[in-house]
Amino acid sequence: MGLRVTDLAKRYGRTTALDGMSLDLRPGVVYGLFGRNGAGKSTLLGCLGNRLIPDSGSLELDGEPLAENEPAMERTYLADERLPWWPGRSLESILRDCGRIYGGFDREFADTLAERFGIDVECPYNRLSLGRRTASRMAIGLCLPVDYLFLDEPTLGLDPVARTLMARSVIEACARRSRTVVISTHDVAEFAGVIEAAVVIDHGRRLDRFDVQDLYRHAAVLSGPASAVDAAVGRLGLTVLDRECHGMSANVMVALDSGADVWEGVPDGTDDGADDGSDVGCDDPAAALAARVGGGVHVRTPDLRTYVIRLIQERN
């Protein structure tokens, strides 16, 4: 069950937007889709929203093909920079239209969102400011009765207050109706408290995919004397994602991939025959890592934004 993307490829002329992208989106989970400009986020969402036709690969929703399959397509909606109505119409008439096109459109929540973002519903859409146009498009998407909602740049042009409100609105929308939401944004920090799982892509390929609560399994920040930190990193064979020096001390972010020696001997709670900590069974990997690095080196979990940025930088 869920939305499965398998080996998706898409090219625009000589530009490769997606290069063998594979992904599984579970029902009822809020995903963050992160990556640099041109990484392929909008193209991926375009394919999921049936606006783009992939060159190869497949998209399946609950085992059914998604492309050109109307019963499946009507369970998805992509809210991006394009308003699928005549832009001279007011938000009020668009919302009325939504009610007619989509049975179960949450008009009450739509009115709440319009008030929250200060949108004059009688004003023609194309006369709204950039931020309010974005808020309008996202509000429409959040109120539609779809099972899979894709939000492309939901904070484009929004002020800091509205960005916070947008993140809160996503949570409210999910509370009102369970759905899978994929948020493609550069505002990682703003949505850090909203998303449950993250997908990081670059150059049309998936770099990483993890549950946010399991971020501590993907990376750790080692802090302490620079010499001790470097020695620990070298001894354990950790991949350095970032390094900051402050005098004689250093903060080093390392990737905790399964090949690292840090998990050697750590019981992981699974019976795959290898105690490598990779099977999400290790209760306190930070403590396990701290026990191994020793020498006054502290271990903590990085914040999502920093991890995503460093991961992308490291791969580039």
Binding site: P27, L52, S58, N69, R75, Y77, D147, R179
Partner: protein, 331 residues
């Protein structure tokens, strides 16, 4: 031809499984195999998809009909008052219907695809939209013609090429016969001047064929424009608007013994083919004064069917890979 062969598989209908989502109840719907690059994609249509596509299509249908009604009423009234004749001029109506059909083909899928409507549903909805438009415009034309006859408006001009041909075709009941009817220009003019009571069935069929062909051509043009993009569309338009007349002028001033006769024959062939599609077959030479016309409905219907079918296939092929691309750098 390869495309035609591939299209044969499009309408292979089957039964699909129910949708299993939580938001929408599963329903049974017709499935059509849809050929694609990977050969695996299928189109599944639903009632909601049709409803959404038709909702957008209807706006253009109403737009065309309203404009045609207003225009015909206004022109007819003004011409009648001024003692002139409009006869429900079909040529501008055809152009108008083609233009709006092109706009609909360009714009409707932009909105419909965003609402989960399959490309096949969108393009098929416009076929039906074209039928509705053509039928209503044809009826309006018949009403205008009837009013013209009632107030005895006079035939003033042969400029309205399509309208005149429709009227000519409809004036002769035996035009339905397979054998074409030959008339010289003078006879045709006299017949037109007398304004015999037309065969209304032929009138309706001929007018419908004209308008429907125009809307189908318009749909193909709209799809082609969306595929080409704005810049390429402008270039193609410039080629047609400037390039073709320029080329024709150059050919006319070319060597009178080698190139010009060939060009003249080519232009004549094009004229003859166009006239044939209108139900007219020219005989003899205009210079010799023995230029005859053959009126028959069949060439018109046949050409309308062929052109419409080609436009339908072309539209479907163009729409099959239609995309709404984000702003990306295209290498």
């Amino acid at each position: 031809m390869g495309d035609l062969t591939r299209l044969k598989g499009i309408w292979t209908t089957a039964e699909t499984k129910s949708a299993t989502g939580t938001g929408f109840a599963g329903r049974r719907a017709g499935v059509a195999a849809w050929p694609s690059a990977d050969g695996r994609r299928r189109t599944v249509v639903s009632r909601r998809g049709w409803r959404v596509a038709w909702r957008y299509e209807m706006r253009f249908v109403i737009f065309i009909i309203a404009f045609c009604a207003v225009m015909m009423a206004a022109v007819t009234f003004c011409c009648a008052v001024l003692g002139m004749w409009s006869n429900g001029g079909l040529k501008p109506l055809c152009l108008w219907c083609a233009a709006v059909s092109a706009a609909a083909a360009y714009l409707v899928p932009r909105y419909a695809i965003c609402h989960g409507v399959s490309r096949r549903t969108g393009v098929t909805a416009q076929y039906f939209g074209n039928v509705v438009v053509s039928a209503v415009v044809t009826v309006l034309l018949a009403v205008v013609e009837r009013v013209n006859r009632a107030i005895d408006a006079m035939l003033a001009s042969y400029d309205g090429f399509c309208a005149v041909r429709v009227q000519e075709l409809a004036t002769y009941p035996d035009a339905l016969a397979l054998a074409p009817r030959y008339l010289d220009d003078l006879s045709a003019a006299e017949q037109g001047w007398r304004r015999n009571e037309p065969n209304w069935i032929i009138f309706l069929v001929a007018a419908f064929a004209f308008v429907f062909t125009a809307t189908m051509v318009g749909q193909l043009v709209g799809e082609a424009c969306s595929r080409l993009g704005a810049k390429r569309t402008v270039i193609v338009l410039l080629v047609f608007v400037v390039g073709v007349p320029l080329l024709a002028s150059v050919l006319m001033y070319a060597n009178p013994y080698t190139i010009r006769p060939v060009a003249m024959r080519a232009f004549d062939a094009v004229d003859t083919a166009l006239a044939f599609t209108m139900g007219i077959l020219q005989h003899g030479s205009l210079e010799g004064g023995d230029w005859d016309c053959a009126f028959s409905l069949w060439p018109l219907l046949a050409s309308a069917a062929v052109v419409s079918a080609l436009c339908a296939i072309g539209s479907m092929l163009l729409d099959r890979r239609r995309e709404l691309r984000p702003a990306v750098a295209v290498g």
